[in-house]
């Protein structure tokens, strides 16, 4: 049996310390803040990041350099036969595309398998956990990639923003931002579904936004991922949550989600910074991912 290394980037919300415990590797995402480069979870904490973001610093994200990607692969291939790399969604960043290109280099061909399953944050973390399990079950790297990619549409994320300010400032998610009114203060709810990050709904208040997200989750569970259980049994899906900056608000919302879907474990992480820098602090996100059989 070949020895498989699992690798992801810091968008998965997996910290370097957790990675060590899980026996996987995490590639930190680089940030440019006021001209200086930082690495997520390595040379920049979330607290520092939000401090700078709210102070109006000029923040931009970039892909991990090809050098850093290939260096990590080379290192892993020293004591593994194959690498399964699960980067952030190709719909949100070019990192995946670059990694796929690099994996076609002669040096890595057949050895590095880049998974293009459009996950981010908590759902990306779940993919990593699934990959670990699949590899333990004896699947080959290529099989793991195939299983994860086949499953790519079985997940959706809803994010409620506290403000449209950062979305507009970034100018990055224009079609979504353009559809949202800008005169009134709105709490837009975005959806990440497959490739697209798009406006899903609008709300005027946080409570309205939360209720929209809960309803959307319920719909997904019912209509897409196999139904709600009758008697508070564990669902056939993973419930996940993420937030930017405000842990207290996130915990309060977690209680509401738990009350709506009792008997299920809810995994919650801070949202990765490459998403956070576009949506700003105070955002709440929920995700539903069908359990991989």
């Amino acid at each position: 049996m070949s020895k498989i290394a699992i690798m992801t980037d810091s968008n998965s919300g997996i910290t370097q310390k957790q990675a060590e415990e899980m026996g996987i590797s995490v590639l930190p995402m680089p940030f440019m803040i006021d001209g200086q480069t930082y690495l997520e979870g390595v040379s920049l904490t979330h607290e520092e990041f939000y401090e700078k973001l709210e102070a109006g610093a000029d923040i931009s994200t970039s892909q991990p350099s090809p050098e850093s990607v290939m260096d990590m692969w080379r290192k892993l291939l020293k004591d593994h036969d194959e690498v399964v790399h699960i980067p952030m969604s190709s719909g949100l960043s070019g990192s995946c595309q670059t990694a796929i290109m690099l994996s076609n280099e002669e040096e890595f061909e057949g050895k590095v398998h880049v998974v293009n399953n459009q996950r981010i944050s908590v759902t990306q973390r779940q993919s990593v956990l699934d990959a670990i399990r699949l590899s333990e079950e004896g699947k080959t790297a290529d099989e793991i990639k195939e299983i994860l990619e086949e499953d790519k549409l079985n997940s959706s994320i809803y994010i409620m923003l506290d403000t449209l300010y950062y979305l507009k400032k970034g100018g990055r998610i224009t079609p979504a931002a353009a559809a949202l009114g800008t005169l009134l203060k709105l709490k837009p709810v975005l959806q990440i579904q497959g490739e697209k990050l798009d406006a899903f709904a609008k709300a005027r208040t946080k409570n309205q936004g939360k209720s929209i997200m809960l309803t959307a989750m319920e719909n997904d569970i019912k209509n897409r991922f196999g139904g709600l259980s009758e008697d508070d049994e564990e669902l056939d899906v993973h419930l996940q949550m993420a937030y930017t900056k405000d842990l207290e608000a996130a915990n309060a919302f977690k209680e509401e989600v738990a009350a709506k879907f009792p008997g299920n474990e809810i995994c919650m992480d801070p949202l990765s910074l490459s998403v956070a820098c576009h949506i700003g602090p105070g955002a709440l996100a929920v995700a539903v991912t069908k359990k991989l059989k």
């Binding site: 005169l183 009134l184 203060k185 899903f200 709904a201 709300a203 005027r204």
Partner: protein, 552 residues
């Protein structure tokens, strides 16, 4: 020998006389509005509705056929219908005309049948018919008419049913407590009685001055400019001004002045009011009109337009518009939105939220069914959502909906601007039209609203005594606060509106008559009172209402 039947010629006269009588009593009917708001305009709405039909009737000439006449009344009033009473009036006419259009001559029997049909149509048009309104008066008339359907004597029949209608009208305050408190009879019912009284006068041979129909044609509802060639414009300059009188201007002077204007042009309007005279004339030599007017005093608000140029421009624009329409057909979108709104700020907010066409209007100016139809035409979408944003416009919107068959029209019965804003915010492109309709309906019921304006007369409503010029805060279900100061009354209204409910966001839209700094001060004060809640201040720019406020 007594005339016991009505022919087309007579009916046409009677209809126009009814319209005329309503127009004369318009202001009086406006004042019968329960809420003493500055925009009680049942009389205006009903008059505009009937005028739209009167124009079509007048255009038929002196010898119309009953069928043509019925069609003119029916379609004219339907398209011109505005305001709840206007829509109901148009439905009364519609039902009435269905019966008479099939006849050669109208006997008492047929007339009573037509009245019955009229009432039936009107009741159908209203989802929740309320007694103590124009509907009750109409029903009373139809009951009496049925009783008398075996009489031959038309004059006796008409007089008796109308008198009975007046008796029912006098009882409306007993059926609707709001009327009783305000000490008025139902304004729509009063309007209907005025129409019938006018008709009776014409039946009895009284000649009516029909110039009012021509005057009101000054603003045609849907004139197709191409029908008039530029060369057909006889008098080229539209000339308007006000004379500020420094000399006497009695009825004789007025007649002289009018006669002079008639010698140099047409479309003449001369309205004298204490110390000013408003003048409007189409002429080829505006100088003559002005020189003559200077004899009576100094002039102000002068406006002279070259109508031939304007007309050409209009033709160009229409041609352009047609081209655009053709282009647009290719890219019809799935869903479009129409909202009734007034005020620069509110219009901007709604447009920003995705409204395609704003129909200017609201309390003060209820758009007609025709206005709504033309807005629908402008939205190139398969499904069009309409937000009437006023309870007096919902019926006209529903009526427009029944007249459109090439698009799916969904009327969301929003009663004010905040509800309209909530409705469009809750639209989700991923959902079906029906799901969106359901969401919007349930969300608009979660918004509490209040609007602040002033009283135009003394009255008592909701056990609150109100004096002319008092400030009133009107909520979703009645008057919430009355006072002398705008800010104070507004705050009292907000407190009443919210009560003990949990509220997350208070939105304040301030009107055109409010200074920004005053609005900011009020917003800060409300923010202090509700510290746990977000307060958002926006410029609405609406007339008449100092503040429109919502809490959710």
């Amino acid at each position: 020998m007594a005339v016991n039947t009505i022919d087309a010629k007579m009916l046409s006269k009677m209809f126009l006389a009814g319209a005329k009588n309503l127009e004369v009593k318009k202001e009086y009917i406006n004042e019968l509005n329960v809420f003493p708001v500055p925009d009680g305009d049942t009389g205006t709405n009903m008059t505009l509705t009937i005028m739209s039909a009167a124009r079509e009737v007048a255009a038929l000439g002196d010898e119309p056929e009953l069928m043509q006449l019925a069609k003119a009344i029916s379609s004219g009033s339907l398209r011109g219908a505005r305001g709840n009473s206007g829509v109901i009036l148009s439905q009364l006419f519609r039902g009435f005309c269905k019966v008479i259009g099939e006849q050669q001559e109208i006997s008492v029997k047929i007339l009573s049948k037509a009245v019955e049909k009229a009432v039936e149509s009107a009741y159908k048009a209203v989802m929740k018919p309320k007694e103590g309104t124009i509907l009750t008066v109409a029903k009373g008339i139809s009951v009496k008419a049925a009783e008398l359907s075996n009489t031959e004597d038309m004059d006796y029949f008409l007089e008796t049913v109308i008198t009975y209608g007046e008796e029912v009208l006098a009882k409306t305050p007993e059926m609707l407590p709001v009327l009783k408190q305000a000490g008025v009879v139902d304004s729509g019912g009063q309007g209907l009685i005025e129409v019938l009284k006018g008709a009776l006068m014409a039946f009895r041979g009284q000649e009516i001055d029909l110039s009012f129909v021509a005057e009101s044609t000054g603003k045609p509802v849907v004139a197709d400019s191409q029908a008039v060639d530029t060369a057909d414009i006889k008098y080229g300059y539209c000339t308007e001004f006000i004379i500020m009188l420094s000399k006497t201007f009695n009825i004789k002077h007025e007649m002289d002045f009018k006669a002079f204007l008639e010698s140099i042009g047409d479309s003449i309007v001369v309205v004298a009011d204490d110390d000013i005279v408003k003048v409007h004339v189409h002429t080829n030599d505006p100088g003559l009109a002005i020189q003559r007017a200077l004899k009576y005093g100094a002039l102000s608000n002068m406006k002279i337009d070259n109508m031939r140029l304007e007309h050409q421009e209009k033709l160009f624009k229409e041609a352009e518009k047609k081209e655009n329409t053709i282009e647009e057909t290719a890219t019809q979108k799935d869903v479009g939105f129409i909202s009734v709104s007034i005020g620069e700020g509110l219009n901007e907010i709604l447009t920003d939220l995705g409204v395609d066409v704003i129909i200017e209007g609201g309390q003060t100016m209820n758009p007609s069914t025709e206005d709504i139809l033309s807005a629908i035409e402008k939205v190139n979408a398969k499904t069009v959502f309409i937000f009437p944003n006023n309870k007096n416009i919902i019926l006209a919107a529903n009526q427009a909906q029944t007249l459109v068959d090439n698009k799916k029209i969904i009327v969301i019965p929003t009663k004010n601007i905040p509800q309209g804003i909530t409705a469009i915010i809750n639209y989700m492109p991923d959902l079906s039209d029906e799901e969106n309709e359901q969401t919007m309906l349930s969300e608009i019921s979660n918004v509490k609203t209040g609007q602040v304006t002033y009283a135009v007369r003394d009255t008592v409503i909701d056990e609150k005594t109100i004096h002319e010029n008092d400030i009133m805060g009107i909520g979703d279900h009645g008057i919430l606060a009355v006072g002398k100061e705008i800010a104070e009354t507004t705050i009292e209204m907000v407190e009443e509106m919210i009560g003990d409910d949990e509220v997350e966001l208070i939105s304040i839209y301030y009107g055109q008559d409010v200074k920004e700094e005053d609005a900011k001060a009020l917003s800060a004060q409300i923010g202090k009172l509700y510290s746990e809640c977000d307060v958002e201040l926006q410029f609405g720019g609406q007339p008449i209402y100092y503040y429109v406020i919502s809490a959710e």
